[in-house]
């Protein structure tokens, strides 16, 4: 072992740049080998190294493992053809093995087996047959040799000199300018990703467009989600919970076509979703200015969490707490949906309710504040919940 390159290793004694802590040792060199190097223990051979029979047996084992992998691949192809995923022979039920989908189980087991057997075979090969004698490999110093460093600096300097970048400022500055202007295409492309929130809100390309609006409007009925039926106050008992939507998402025009379709429909659904709960009117503590937003203890809040926008309907009827399943934000629906726990920063927006001439629950207006999580301009909005 050669230690002739000690001076290249950082942090060794004798280095001028060394910190003061080591100076306490008087700068004396520590011994190169504080503990005598015991060397490698004597190599012990494996049975396969010393016994020709064992060696051949190991060979056969490894070949068998690789063979099994091949068999698994064949079985994979066979099971891909044999087990359908779109229904079995009767065209109805998918075949199962032990209550599990036959196709999934067969494909998974055979492909997994094929890979596993190759891996096991390789490990067996390495353990039984490949040379396993111990060796010592010394670390190399990270620093390049002085000759290499000098050569590199010389080549760089030569390049700078021959290109004349220092002598030709016109070329250099025009290159810098050209590279700098290259930022313009990125700015132009990124700027045109889509209309800004303000543009969408102002132009209203479809009902309830923009982050500040939903499709809720004065007189729009609150209907049950999925089935789309309107709700009378008398339908609901104390403790009832209704997952509801604005009536517009179920409406059809004169020709039987849906009023909202595609992206506007999905946006209307996701922003307009509400929960309707009924509690004893005395249990509700309405926020100032919201005294007439409830109908006989029936309250309606946005279903979209103000934290990151998960739909919430995990409702505890005794505590009137509504919990978000994503991050456990908890809102007290009897207290203007104030946050009582969790990362949400804002109460759920409340939808003011009233009853229309036919006796169904309808909205008094749109939400008075944007629904859902915060966004760039959100905090500049006047919040009615304050």
């Amino acid at each position: 072992m050669s230690n002739g390159h000690d001076s290249h290793l950082p942090g060794l004694p004798g280095d001028d740049s060394h910190d003061a802590a080591h100076d306490g040792h008087g700068g004396a060199l520590v011994p190169e080998e504080p503990i005598p190097n015991p060397g490698l223990p004597e190599h012990v051979w494996r049975p396969t190294d010393v016994d020709a029979k064992a060696e051949r047996r190991a060979e056969r084992q490894i070949a068998t493992l690789f063979g099994l992998s091949t068999v698994c691949v064949v079985l994979f192809v066979v099971s891909y053809v044999v087990f359908g995923v779109n229904g079995g022979a009767d065209g109805k039920s998918v075949r199962t093995i032990g209550g599990l989908g036959a196709s999934n189980v067969a494909l998974g087991v055979t492909l997994g087996g094929a890979l596993l057997f190759i891996g096991v075979g390789l490990i067996q090969w390495a353990r039984k047959l490949m040379a396993d004698h111990e060796i010592v490999e010394m670390r190399h110093p990270a620093r390049s040799s002085d000759e290499d460093r000098e050569e590199t600096v010389r080549v760089l300097a030569l390049g700078a000199d021959e290109s004349g970048i220092a002598r030709r400022p016109l070329v250099r500055n025009s290159l810098l300018g050209a590279v700098g202007v290259l930022i313009a295409p990125a700015v132009v492309l990124l700027k045109d990703l889509g209309p800004t929130n303000r543009d969408v809100t102002d132009s209203q390309p479809y009902p309830g467009a923009g982050l500040e609006h939903t499709v809720w409007d004065k007189g729009m009925r609150v209907v049950r989600d999925v089935v789309g039926t309107p709700i009378r106050p008398g339908d609901l008992e104390i403790g009832d919970l209704v997952n509801a939507e604005p009536a517009m998402i179920f409406e059809v025009d004169d020709e039987g076509e849906p009023v909202l379709e595609g992206v506007p429909l999905q946006i209307a659904k996701s922003k307009g979703a509400v929960v309707v709960v009924r509690m004893l009117p005395g249990e509700n503590k309405p926020a100032p200015g919201r005294e007439n937003w409830a109908v006989d203890g029936i309250l309606c809040y946005s279903k979209i969490c103000t934290h990151v926008g998960c739909p919430i309907s995990l409702y505890e009827k005794k505590t009137h707490h509504l919990l978000c399943p994503c991050h456990q934000s908890t809102f007290d629906l009897a207290d203007a949906a104030k946050v009582v726990f969790g990362p949400a920063a804002r109460p759920l927006p409340q939808l003011p309710l009233m009853v229309d001439d036919d006796g169904y629950l309808v909205a008094q207006s749109d939400f008075k504040e944007p629904v859902g999580p915060s966004y760039w301009e959100r905090d500049s909005q006047q919040s009615t919940s304050k």
């Binding site: 049975p47 016994d51 199962t96 353990r127 999925v226 008992e237 709960v277 309907s313």
Partner: protein, 297 residues
């Protein structure tokens, strides 16, 4: 009497006999009685009687098994520090009793965040009596009829339709707590939403109707009986489904799957890696051939 005597007198030569009027009166009474017994809704009298008996029997059972927590008249009992030992049962209805006692949640073993299900302590007759008594305390939802929740008699097409609609209703209204596969989930303060994998149709219907514990109720005005039955059809269809994708590990989502991956998956990898590095059979014999010297240094 004179009028009766006269009208009958034409029919009988014994009309002037003193007992004739009396006999006729008896005959009329017997005839009226038997006609009434034959034609009138015969059950009314009996059931009024037996309802009363049922309520009385239920009250007996209630005083023994329930009154300690719920009060002798079902008014509810508060503990000294203001907590509720047992809530009032006025107005919870027969359906709540049938659900709570039928699933073994009541009578509770001990007060706590939530009462687990257990084998029932009462026979169905006793539950009916308790339900009748509690229903007599105040108006509340009655035990539903089997036609409301039974899936029998539906054609395959109707059943598929019900499963499809019920699935959407379940995913909208129930999955927040009960998980999309109906396997239940944890709730605040030590509570939990139970798994619905083995709940009977009747108890699912009653739970929807009454909203046990913290669960909001889905009264018939909120979720119609047909919609409730659709939800039941969906939950039942889940039970028949094979696990196409492999073991569901309780169907609880990332918790059990992540635990499995960490413990079994990574654990077995660590174990195998340790085994590969640690064990290699060694021979005590030296190598015979010359090539060994190459490595023996």
């Amino acid at each position: 009497m004179r009028f009766l005597n006269r009208s009958v007198g034409r029919l009988s030569r014994h009309r002037r006999r003193p007992v004739a009027g009396l006999l006729l009166l008896l005959l009329g009474l017997v005839l009226t009685g038997s006609l009434y017994a034959a034609l009138a809704p015969s059950s009314t009298a009996d059931s009024a009687q037996s309802d009363e008996e049922l309520v009385a029997q239920g009250r007996e059972l209630f005083l023994v098994g329930c009154a300690f927590c719920h009060g002798q008249n079902g008014e509810g009992v508060l503990t000294q520090d203001g907590n509720q030992l047992g809530p009032t049962l006025v107005g919870v209805g027969a359906a709540a009793v049938d659900f709570q006692v039928g699933t073994g949640r009541m009578p509770a073993v001990q007060p706590g965040a939530q009462n687990p299900t257990k084998p029932g302590s009462y026979t169905q007759d006793e539950i009916d009596a308790l339900a009748a008594y509690v229903a007599s305390l105040g108006p509340g939802p009655a035990v539903p009829n089997p036609e409301d929740y039974s899936l029998a008699g539906m054609s395959e097409e109707e059943r598929q339709e019900a499963v499809s609609r019920g699935g959407q209703i379940f995913l909208t209204n129930c999955t927040a707590c009960h998980n999309f596969a109906g396997k239940g989930g944890a709730m605040p303060h030590g509570g939990y939403a139970p798994a619905l994998s083995n709940t009977t149709a009747r108890h699912i219907y009653e739970a929807l109707l009454t909203g046990p514990g913290q669960m909001p109720s889905f009264s018939n005005g909120n979720l119609s009986p047909e919609e409730k039955r659709d939800v039941i059809a969906y939950l039942y269809s889940l039970r028949d489904q094979p696990e196409y994708g492999g073991f569901d590990l309780g169907g609880m989502g990332p918790v059990s799957e992540g635990l499995f991956a960490w413990l079994v998956g990574i654990g077995s990898l660590v174990g195998v890696a340790t085994w590969i590095a640690a064990h290699t059979a060694r021979s005590s014999k030296p190598k015979k051939s010359n090539s060994g010297e190459e490595f023996a240094a």
